[in-house]
């Protein structure tokens, strides 16, 4: 499968390519306004596809972007929102990675789950196997709460990051979630329970190291070069005052100040705010640890409100590539937009979509800084969410608004307006008297008052484009859930064409590994 042709090139090649394809690009970007133009557009798309040539080169670099929870419906809605924010045609708009030449479906079921969590799905992507719920780069035979370091080691599967370090490549991991969260953790940690992020999470008597400690003690090659994300408290002791929030302290009780251990290595730096991040000179810094929040970093929609300032996902991607590209042998980098998932769990489409757009910006940054002749870029999701676009709104109808045709709101069978975006379950409005509201004085949670007498809330007077609006959900749940349908894989660069059709999620690892020329397996075959 493929989408519109747009490959990364050197500046000169890009300029030539633009000249050659000028007519095509113009046609691709302009929204067809007649039957003839639509037909012409379709034909030109096929013509461009015919020019696609498989890149059989070996990749020097691999960048894996993961939109946590970024199902296809999320990509579609974000594409429309991004276009509408630019006052362009949202439906015809494409996010940066949607312009990649190759695509496939990724089957996300884990070894023991029909609908999976992030731990086994991320493990599949970086270790090449399917495993069970909660498992971080360990195989499916491990007990979910295995405390033994020896047993865990025996059931661990070597990741692409570890193999890259063994071969002298540089490595990095970037996330807007805690850097010890499941998706980034699968690169460098091996543990049976994704929740064991600091030593206080471990069961009594456990000998396996917590995830934060495993990051600092990473034993392969010369260690991870770039680590940027949230989760500062997991790296600080409970005696250390947080630099951004002086009333708060770290989480660790084992006395290990992991940030200090990091900077004890030569040419290493630790930063926790925007100013410190901006001050880092990649040419003189070999190892960078940036932890910008106690827990997860801010949603993109709230980032400007942060006390100490936080870099965007694109900023972090840029800095990571600047550091990693110093190694002429190449690098492996994972970049996760970790909070798309969290916003969906909260039933809040606005933050999920704006974080998806932030991921698109990060991918665009990576494209601009690399060459598709030697760099494979893969963009995918670990799993989907029960998020949908519904009704028959007109083209151009505000994606966060109520479904309407030419501005006239559509009505449900009760005669009430409804939003285009919604969830199958979650904390959004569901029906009369069922949503709890917060009452701090009494510890009680009382039924929300709905305007109107119908069994759905009347949204006539509600601004559903408000960033804090929670889209309605059919099944009431405190937290919206993941979904089990396939997600998409978008790829460009060496071996990108190996993504095709409907593939199991762990194939992503095998394409990346193939592209880098890694041979053999953890098991010796």
């Amino acid at each position: 499968m493929f989408t519109q042709l747009k490959q990364r090139k050197s500046p000169l090649a890009a300029a030539i390519g633009l000249l050659l394809l000028a007519g095509n690009v113009n046609a691709q970007d302009a929204v067809p306004a007649s039957a003839e133009e639509w037909f012409k557009h379709g034909k030109q798309t096929v013509k461009a596809a015919e020019k696609l040539k498989h890149n059989e080169r070996k990749a020097r670099n691999v960048i894996l972007f993961v939109g946590d929870g970024m199902g296809v419906s999320t990509v579609t809605a974000a594409r429309i929102l991004e276009g509408q924010l630019r006052e362009a045609d949202g439906e015809f708009n494409r996010l940066s990675f949607e312009k990649f030449p190759y695509m496939a479906h990724s089957v996300t079921a884990s070894a023991n789950q029909q609908t999976s969590d992030s731990a086994p799905t991320a493990t599949a992507m970086v270790a090449g196997i399917k495993t069970n719920d909660g498992a971080i780069s360990v195989d499916q035979t491990i007990n979910r709460t295995e405390p033994s370091a020896d047993v865990t080691a025996a059931k661990s599967v070597k990741t692409i990051m570890e193999q890259a370090e063994e071969r002298g490549l540089s490595t990095g991991v970037v996330s807007t979630a805690r850097i010890t969260h499941a998706t980034p953790a699968v690169n460098y940690a091996h543990i049976s329970n994704r929740d064991w992020e600091n030593n206080t999470n471990l069961p009594a008597g456990a000998t396996v190291k917590d995830i934060a400690a495993q990051l600092i003690d990473f034993p392969y090659g010369n260690g991870i070069e770039v680590v940027l994300g949230g989760g500062r408290s997991n790296f600080m002791t409970n005696q250390s005052v947080d630099p951004e929030y002086p009333t708060r302290k770290g989480s660790r009780t084992d006395g290990r100040e992991l940030t200090q251990e990091w900077v004890s290595q030569p040419k290493s730096a630790y930063v926790w705010d925007q100013a410190g991040f901006d001050a880092i000179d990649p040419s003189s810094t070999d190892r960078l640890l940036g932890l910008f929040e106690r827990s997860h970093m801010k949603y993109e929609a709230d980032r400007a409100d942060d006390t100490a300032g936080e870099p965007s996902l694109a900023d972090m991607t840029k800095k990571a590539i600047e550091m990693l590209q110093k190694n002429k042998k190449g690098y492996y980098l994972m970049v996760e937009a970790g909070r798309i998932d969290h916003a969906h769990h909260a039933g809040n489409a606005h933050r999920a979509l704006t974080d998806t757009i932030a991921l698109s910006e990060a991918v665009k940054m990576a494209q601009e800084m690399t060459n598709d002749k030697d760099t494979l870029i893969v963009v995918t999701a670990d799993h989907s969410h029960v998020f949908t676009l519904a009704g028959y709104p007109s083209r151009g109808n505000p994606i966060l608004g109520k479904a309407a045709i030419n501005g006239v709101e559509l009505k449900d069978s009760l005669g009430l307006p409804y939003t285009t975006l919604g969830y199958a379950n979650g904390p959004g409005f569901i029906g009369e008297g069922t949503r709890k509201v917060f009452n701090p004085l009494t510890e009680g949670y009382v039924a929300a008052e709905y305007v109107g007498t119908k069994s759905r809330p009347d949204l006539s007077g509600i601004d559903t484009t408000d960033p804090n609006y929670l889209q309605e959900a059919a099944v009431p749940m405190g937290s919206e859930t993941h979904a089990g349908e396939d997600v998409a894989i978008y790829a460009a660069g060496p071996k990108a064409h190996l993504f095709h059709g409907t593939q199991e999620q762990h194939v992503i690892y095998h394409v990346m590994s193939q592209a880098l020329g890694f041979s053999g397996s953890h098991w010796g075959w």
Binding site: T247, D305, H344, R351, F438, E443, Y445, L470, G478, H482
Partner: protein, 245 residues
């Protein structure tokens, strides 16, 4: 009736004795609040309505009573309900506000960041939380009487705001209610009475020590779908549901 157990120094006692002879000062919410430790009892009378649910019991009429503790400083407001072994904390750190729900029996905390609260439409009304009433509502009430209660100047206020009838006895020096009653048009009534108040520095009851509790980020609840604790407490959290149909 409540009992006040201040252990003031001689200077404070003299000031109080003098103050008892003085007129009650007007309501002034624009001053730094006194750090206090207090105990309240809240009674909620639900008038009953066949079409409503309340705490999971649709249409039942009756009174629920709970005693709870309250600690207030400039940067932290904490409430604790001993009978339920749960509590709530609001923390202010610069521009950031954190909210925590404490589950003492489980030694776990669910923590909300500002954006989580925004998305859940949980109002971050610090002033309302520390005063226990919306200050704008309080200032709209009519002063019916002035009093001295156990050495504290007090105002008796009443009135209706947004369809809610209020009766308040306000301790002006502490900026804390001694009595707070609200009743809506359906007859649902909530009455909170002060049982005991102390200055924080002399508090005889300390906040529960939650420093060793596991903190679970609210954003992570969705990824803990198999965690028995999360499954059990999900519906007690903001944004949860009490659906019983």
């Amino acid at each position: 009736m409540y009992h006040i157990r201040f252990v003031f120094g001689l200077a404070v006692l003299l000031l109080t004795a003098c103050a008892q002879q003085s007129p009650v000062p007007p309501l002034n919410l624009d001053v730094p609040l006194v750090d206090v430790s207090a105990r309240f009892v809240t009674e909620r009378f639900h008038a009953g309505d066949a079409h409503e649910e309340h705490d999971g019991h649709a249409g039942e009429e009756g009174t629920a009573r709970s005693e709870w503790q309250f600690w207030r400083t400039a940067s932290r407001i904490e409430m604790n309900i001993p009978a339920r072994q749960t509590g709530e904390v609001w923390m202010r750190d610069g521009n950031a506000v954190f909210h925590q729900k404490l589950f003492h029996a489980d030694r776990k905390i669910v923590e909300y960041q500002s954006a989580d609260l925004d998305a859940l439409n949980v109002p971050m009304q610090w002033r309302t939380n520390e005063l226990m009433i919306d200050p704008q509502v309080l200032q709209q009430l009519q002063v019916d009487a002035e009093n001295w209660i156990d050495g504290h100047p007090a105002l008796e206020l009443s009135g209706a705001v947004d369809g809610i009838e209020y009766e308040v006895v306000w301790l002006v020096d502490l900026n804390l209610p001694q009595h707070l009653s609200k009743q809506d048009a359906d007859g649902n009534r909530e009455t909170t009475r002060l049982l005991n108040v102390e200055l924080m520095a002399q508090a005889s009851v300390q906040q529960p020590d939650s420093s060793g509790y596991e903190i679970i980020d609210y954003a992570d609840l969705g990824d803990r779908e198999r965690d028995p604790f999360v499954i059990r407490i999900q519906n007690q959290l903001p944004g949860g549901h009490a659906h019983t149909h």
